[in-house]
Amino acid sequence: MPNKALPYLLLLPATLFLLVFFVYPFVEIALLAFTGPEGFTLQHIQTMATHWKFRPALGWTLLLAAVVVPIQLALALSMASIVSTLERGRGTILYIFSIPLGLSDLAAGIIWLAIFEQSGFLNSLLVGLGIIDQPILFLGYQSIWVIFLAVVMAEVWRATAIMMVILVAGMGLIPKEYYEAAEVFGAGPWKRFLKITLPLLRPSLQTALILRTLLAFEVFAVVIALGGTTLPVLMGETFQWQFALQNRSVASAYALVILIISVAATLVYLRALRVPKGATL
């Protein structure tokens, strides 16, 4: 076989697969959202934008990402720093920290439901400690902020691990000599973290932030498990329009909104945490 053709033959299945099942469908989403029986129409976009749940869904989704991602970043950085400085038991601690990485968001939602539901563990603890007399209904449809808080807890619990793993891998690439040199010049642990770890971790930070922010925009099962449809989010509304209301076009319009904020967030991160060419380790 001629060697020139071989790489292309090996790449062919993956390329075809991604073109048919990744590139084409995203074009199709736009087509579905903008076409009606008489060709081009803004009808579906209008239906979506004027529906009373659209603004809350967009608002809650963005707020959730704005709250969850910074908490996760701080927590993931601390966990990664801890793991990197550990001498004994590193493997065990690392495994424990990364357990939530393998759990589905639905499972995470159900796990936190066990804690927050009316007969759940949080109420049991509060009553047992004598702080309250009666179990409180935390996740009722009137307490949307409590549901929001529960979703934040569940998301932070579940999805910090993925950022941590990326950051641990990134920290492993930073040469030890830099830290030794900094120590010689009298830099304390905090200064070393600020002046060496953070700047050199930029590529990993970028990856972790893009990944996490996009997944935060896609939040769905955790919200459904903890609050049903009380707390509207974009992905939940997409599902409602597609599944319950059987309206593909409006569902696609929602999908387009998620797509646009995702790509926008990616571009912002790529610019803000730009890695100068040739500066990677």
Binding site: A14, L32, S98, I99
Partner: protein, 281 residues
């Protein structure tokens, strides 16, 4: 003079041991934060249905298998479990079958178009992939793939394929070309050299990335819920029944989702960081 130096070192030792204590406390707190919610889910799963809705809770399992047998005998659960496994296995086969050749090509050849392919793979990260389920639902109805396991496995493969490509790329890059070249000079053709020399060396890594693909599929909720009606996976089954199912069904279902993920993450823990370290680049 010496006395001053003595107290100074004493204080330094004191500060250091206080720091060490804080560090240890942080590790313990973080481990508790990760592990306790999972423990509580299993407490609920291993309690009778009455105990699950009872109050207050003790936080100690009674090892009653009432909830589990209720879950397993609930109409549709066993089918859903089976469907989840079938879809996940298909995803595993598809993503490695298509991804590994691409990873090999990227690691061994330099050719025009290589960067374009890499871009295509990396681009998948900037898109909310579960949304693919919407346009693909239309395509699948046209081609008779709607509500089938293979249809859903195709969507899950789009999620898993970029990982499979990047992971296998780095696995193959870790094997020196010289080993292959030596096999060629000893009379092997390209395929024989690959099968007898390279494959045995990368097999554990390939298995790890296959397991990873399995978990991605096993945990996926949105596309599964949109695309399957009769052939529901476990996640789709749970999401679609969330507002009608009793608590003990939810918790047993959650545990059923968590257990395989825990086992698999444990099995591939050695490769976790290699994988994400690569996914960085």
């Amino acid at each position: 003079m010496t006395a001053v130096a003595g107290t100074d070192t004493a204080r330094r030792v004191e500060v250091r041991s206080a720091g060490r204590f804080l560090f240890g406390a942080a590790v313990v707190v973080l481990c508790v934060w990760v592990l306790v919610p999972i423990y509580l889910l299993f407490v609920n799963t291993l309690s009778s249905p009455q105990e699950v809705s009872g109050f207050p809770k003790t936080g100690i399992p009674s090892f009653d298998f009432g909830s589990i047998s209720f879950f397993l005998n609930f109409a549709g659960v066993l089918d859903a479990l089976l469907n989840s496994i079938i879809v996940a296995v298909l995803t595993m086969i598809l993503s490695i079958g298509i991804g590994a050749p691409a990873g090999y090509a990227l690691s061994r050849f330099d050719f025009p178009g290589k960067e374009a392919f890499r871009l295509l793979v990396v681009m998948t990260r900037a898109f909310p992939l579960p949304l693919l389920a919407l346009p693909l639902a239309v395509l699948f109805i046209r081609t008779g793939l709607d509500d089938t396991q293979i249809g859903l496995a195709i969507v899950h493969t789009v999620l898993a394929l970029p990982f499979a490509v990047l992971i296998t790329f780095s696995l193959f890059s870790g094997i020196p070309v010289e080993l292959e070249e030596a096999a060629w000079t000893l009379g092997c053709n390209r395929w024989q050299a690959f099968r007898k020399v390279v494959l045995p060396l990368v097999l554990p890594g390939i298995v790890a990335s296959a397991v990873f693909a399995f978990i991605i599929s096993w945990n996926e909720v949105f596309a599964a819920a949109v695309l399957t009606i009769h052939n529901r996976t476990l996640t789709a089954f749970l999401v679609q029944n969330l507002n009608v199912s009793p608590l003990h069904l939810k918790f047993a279902g959650g545990a059923a989702l968590v257990i395989p993920a825990l086992i698999f993450i444990f099995a591939v823990r050695r490769y976790l960081f290699a994988m994400w370290g690569i996914a960085n680049r």
